[in-house]
Symmetry: C2
Subunit: 331 residues, 2 copies
Amino acid sequence: MTAPTFDVIAIGNAIVDVMAPAEDATIERLGLAKGGMTLVDTARAQELYDAMGPAKEISGGSAANTLAGLAALGAKCAFIGQVADDQLGEVFAHDVRAGGIAYATPMRAGDPPTGRCLIFVTPDGERTMNTFLGASQFLPPVALDETLIASAAVLYLEGYLWDPEEPRRAMRRAIDVARAAGRMVAFTASESFVIERHGDDFRDLIAEGMIDILFANEGELATLTGESDFEAGVAKVAANVPVLVATRGPHGAIAIAAGKRAEVAAEPIAKVVDTTGAGDLFAAGFLSGHVRGLPLADCLKRGAICAAEIISHYGARPEGDLKALVAARTG
Amino acid sequence: MTAPTFDVIAIGNAIVDVMAPAEDATIERLGLAKGGMTLVDTARAQELYDAMGPAKEISGGSAANTLAGLAALGAKCAFIGQVADDQLGEVFAHDVRAGGIAYATPMRAGDPPTGRCLIFVTPDGERTMNTFLGASQFLPPVALDETLIASAAVLYLEGYLWDPEEPRRAMRRAIDVARAAGRMVAFTASESFVIERHGDDFRDLIAEGMIDILFANEGELATLTGESDFEAGVAKVAANVPVLVATRGPHGAIAIAAGKRAEVAAEPIAKVVDTTGAGDLFAAGFLSGHVRGLPLADCLKRGAICAAEIISHYGARPEGDLKALVAARTG
């Protein structure tokens, strides 16, 4: 096993977020599941966009957000994800590369266009996401650079990509490649609806020992384990993954590794502006510590710091100097 | 003369801003004129975009920004400007319409793409703009809906549009239409370099009595009048325009109308985050009072309030509730 060239390589949806503030009444009138993520087709995306106020476009995508945080913290990162050959595809590719992340997946010609996520942000800071996957669901197995995957210490995968068929097959292949090279596989459950549809797949992966690091929030853990009690869910999964990270929003997070447990409180912030990317950046902070071999509690603390930064402003890509924030708050 | 259907109709460049923070050293290394606006071609735009950090896309365009402010303040507005039939064109059109502004200029097929402005924002909040005009410079005279123009109390024009030939002719025609209908013509000088190139045109328009309301900042006034002394410049122009509004950034603004002069200090704000759109929103606030027949000092106060809101966050489109802000601060 050779020394890894990259710290983390991620495979994820390549998405540009289209974000606008919205009142709770609008969420209700449009029939949206507040706080959730829903997949939408072209017609529904257009309907929702028409109903949306003046917006901002900010690159997103769960795993890509995590990499943006990791890269800002000094990790060497690479991304694989599919955009179309259009303006939003250029925007996504620019933002990933400008963050110092290696990204070489060729743009895909023709329809559908680059994926986007219409995000309504209510005054309480909660985000309601409506994702038009577009080109990202056509990530072909051939787009996987297997040498690249084998060269990263951690392969990071988002559950969202399990939904479309082509990327799902690509992800399974990527796991095999990473494991054959002796690398770690990290997985984020992404969203309860993904687990409802593909939970058996995820549970199989866990049971087969394919997942080294699992990220899930409270709701996802419940869906994954069928346990409504948080601790019961934790116990069920922790037995089968070397590292489990379970986040609880404002109630902090816990991690269990090699039978040891650590906890962290949420970092205090002045105002929750937009929760988009909270889980993604928690994962970034945690992994940034994990790849350096830091103790579990320190990894959690980094996760909490990064999550706090991202929810203090619009958008799921870090704005503040994460390195400086982590340095200031971890002493 | 029939009662106007719209308060303000504006003709301007249809631009999406691409904004990213940058250090002063980057501005210098890229050879940018800090604080200014420079027109760039495709190659230079690509070069600058490649050098830019992760960015956000937020609709812009000087006159469109002013309308966004006016509409937020309750004015009935319409916009004329040219986008291409592409994703950024859709973004621009959506954001204008979502702000409640009537906008019916057909998208233009083929190259060039929708105009964009690459904006580097330094830690002091100063913005350095690099504009790729794209489709906006091909606004054809036929795009002017003359009935619409004649139906608005104020025709608002941006100097930026004087630079490309087709829009320049369209603007001259629009002025004739508005004046024939007995409407007011408001004009923003936009930027010193525009005045350097088209100052004779602007001075002719003023001398011919074609401009009822002129907006200019200190630097633009100096270029327009050839007077380096602010008061000398004011005196020179005020004699020929019914309403002159001259802004001085952190030093507030003055207005002169019918021989009367009013002044306003800049509104205090916690931190200047991004000065993009300061002049545009000052104009919005001022005009919102002017179309209601408010006293000059009140119009200026509204301008200062709107300018303060826009420089307290990224982007040149209002985020705060301008109506509430104005209500709270004008008593």
